[in-house]
Symmetry: C4
Subunit: 291 residues, 4 copies
């Protein structure tokens, strides 16, 4: 009986930490988001020397509070999952670990300043809050249209790289080291800066011929920008019209939508795509827990 | 009878000020637009020291004329509305107040120079002229497609922010304070400048590794620009094809169009979406007034 | 009979100069294009002091040849048209006049150097060559989709102007004259530079608050860029799918296409949209002339 | 019999070098891609003086290895093709020659350093790897939509050029040589930099009037960017919906797809669009060879 109670306690915690269906689960997600943002702001403020000089002790204190809270969250995540190693070596497991460890390392080793930046990756965990129902539909459709146009985008990036190398080498020859094009890699870097219409202006062509070639590069870049936009546009329109169609034709679509709105997470395999009334995980067959 | 006459006078003024259906209502809107533009030009010219030194008295005089005219408009708006407090605490009520008060404040307190800029917000009132029929259809469709893709745009902005923080922190580590990346907030700012392809060039990567990472950021930004364009494109195409469909299928569409073309404004609740022949406000039940 | 012969001579010349159907008409258009380009190159080279110093006499000589040729063309255009004044006060009539007169003015007055640039407008005449059949279909569809989205584009430009003025004033307050934001017009200019993602970098925010506001402006600009693209995209897709539909459904479409391919130009009213076998101008009823 | 054996040997080599169907053919393509990338990296590193000073001998040695390998490839390509001259004067034949010859020239002539950059063109050969099935479908659809919108893109580029010349000349007059607009070609160059939203900032308007005109140019550029995007978007959507249609309507589509996935290359005319079971080249009638 005690074991069952303990099991219930673990199950409830799992529901709070991994899911966003219950009020306490939502509260946990909001609190986590809050502390993640606080942590990001702390990292940023520490880097501003004028602020760090004044409030160093306060920032350091806050940093430790956030670190301890993240440590507790990390431990709870490991405890409540049935297969801790699967979690630990998952994308978010690694990020959770990396966002907790730096402060302990700085405590023990002092100079591990560089690792502090690993906490920036902590922001990636923010995407977890996207499990909240209404965001999911949108990001899924986006992901689908990007995956659908994956190969085309690669071909496009490939074309950008090839033209950058070709034009970069030409500009290196035409402008030369005197005008800032000191070597081909730098020339290629400048070429990408120009093709993407960023145009820092730290390096700029000085010779008439160089400026003429730059004109060609810019108009090329201007034309090229149309290509990925057109691709994603078309793919997105396709996928959204497809979802519309199924919406109109059969009622099964609304059921599918509901599936996505469900944020149940299997305690055993961390799979998150469960039907509303599912008693067992459709992936590993483990018993699902509901309130 | 006198009360009725007074009521008629108020109703007529309400029609002139709040609506754009009658010739006098249109004239009022055009005059208002003219004085708003004059006011904006005055604010701008005052800020140019060479012009302000020469024509200070003239500009100051014009400023007072505009202010008095706006004051009269403000008072008339309050008088002709049945629920003045509802107007006062509405978006345009606040802006009308803020665009009138600064000159009086400068008169009484002298140094309230900063408040003068609040008059720039006056330009927002220009959108009122959009009530003119033909502009409304277009902006409504635009607003609809932006609202429809709201969640997706938020997810996209979220992605921009996350990658800016991650890359900003990396660039801060790679380039360091010597090359202008003095702290993480500034680094993140630079990262957004690069991702959005603005590229001021006040800060630019100097190390080969920094330039390599910049290349990745730029191509990422180039790819990312396709996403919101694709979304709005698709949503807009959807909504416009939808309106086309309803246009073709049933005649009720043209009726709906006519509704929008009507610029009647309820004297009681300021609601502006009334049917052409409406005798009572569909929102508060107040009697509508026609010429 | 002589009068008829003269009439024939005028008609033939009209066909050569104003139309591109006959071989001689095409040759005239190509020659005109060639001399326009030559003229543009001459204007450009004259402005390069190192080249002008060396070859001034040669450039001046060429300039006179081009001017005389354009003068002859201008006179022939006036002679062959039935209503010379209509031509003279048309868009191209004014441009033809402005592109001929500067050299004569420099000859008589010497210092009328500024007028030379009017010849740049001569390039606008290049669009005439677009009468050549295959270019017309494309540019017409483009023009249609731009006209269809005219009001929406105006609303969009209006939004850009309003946000530029608001943000420009805020930046003027935040950054101040010390950081290059010397007055509001300059601040607004900088704001448009940033919103359109051009980003010269001649003026750049220096204060942390200014950089934060800049971030908002840039992301706004990034989002705004999606709007006109989406509009034109959707309108273009609509118009092209419409033309496809009519192409599939009825054969009358191909007839319409042929109409556009015809470059006949009425000698009386200069109208250029004539059906292939048209005997009389559908606009003014004047007799058409065919070979 | 010996001749037949020799023929088989040549046929097999042809299959390995020109096709990507067999494991050895794929291996050849991957190895070629690897050496091309190595060669590009070598060219780049040589241009970095700090690296070249240190590792010059090693880089020179690697360069010779790559050159010899490319020479062998070039010779094998000539041998295995039935019509060597057709290959030699084809696009890739010229590139293969140009990417092999520079090192030999530097060996014999010493100072032919400039020709080394011709090796950059070697990167164009990378596109050959695109023959690998899954990339081809995507790039073909892209190519089709670009070809379909070719005329429209030309009209668009033409518009960009015309407005650049007009505005460039105006800016040259307004800003003058004192503010960096030293001549019209440079002014036109600056105008294209601005229109394409690159904005280097090496030249920037200083006078209020110049900045006002720049504002117009930028907003124009902002509006213009929508046009090519809209065109490619619409064309791409059209072509992809077309291919979808044929996919749904008849099964012959999947057959067509398979055709593209086939990377057979005729030994006689180098044509690469063969059906899977083709016994003879559909272009020249030559016997095809299969494993």
């Amino acid at each position: 009986m005690e074991s069952n109670q303990k099991h219930n306690w673990k199950t409830k915690l799992h529901e709070i930490i991994y899911e966003a269906d219950t009020p306490s689960g939502k509260l946990f997600d909001v609190l986590l988001l809050f502390f993640i943002l606080i942590s990001i702001v702390l990292v940023m403020l520490e880097s501003v020397s004028s602020i760090d000089n004044k409030y160093h002790d306060f920032l350091y204190f806050c940093e430790w509070i956030v670190t301890i809270l993240f440590s507790i969250e990390f431990i709870l995540r490991i405890i409540t999952v049935k297969k801790p190693f699967k979690y630990l070596f998952s994308f978010f497991g690694v990020i959770d670990f990396l966002s907790t460890i730096p402060m302990y390392l700085t405590f023990f080793f002092g100079g591990a300043q560089a690792l502090v930046t690993l906490r920036a990756l902590r922001l990636l965990r923010v995407f977890r809050i996207l499990k909240l129902a209404r965001y999911l539909g949108a990001s899924n459709q986006l992901k689908d249209s990007i995956i659908a146009s994956r190969v085309k985008i690669l071909v496009f990036l490939f074309a950008v790289m090839v033209s950058s190398v070709v034009f970069g080498t030409i500009m290196y020859l035409v402008e030369g080291e005197a005008n800032g094009f000191t070597n081909i890699p730098k020339s290629v870097y400048w070429c990408i800066v120009t093709l993407t219409t960023v145009g820092f202006g730290d390096i700029a062509p000085q010779t008439p011929l160089g400026q003429f070639i730059t004109t060609i590069i810019m108009i090329l870049g201007y034309g090229i920008i149309a290509v990925p936009t057109g691709i994603v546009s078309a793919e997105y329109a396709k996928s959204s019209s497809k979802s519309n169609e199924s919406n109109n034709n059969n009622e099964s679509y609304s059921t599918e939508q509901k599936l996505h709105l469900n944020s149940q997470c299997c305690i055993n395999c961390l799979n998150t795509t469960h039907q509303d009334g599912a008693e067992y995980c459709h992936n590993c067959g483990h018993k699902m827990h509901h309130d």
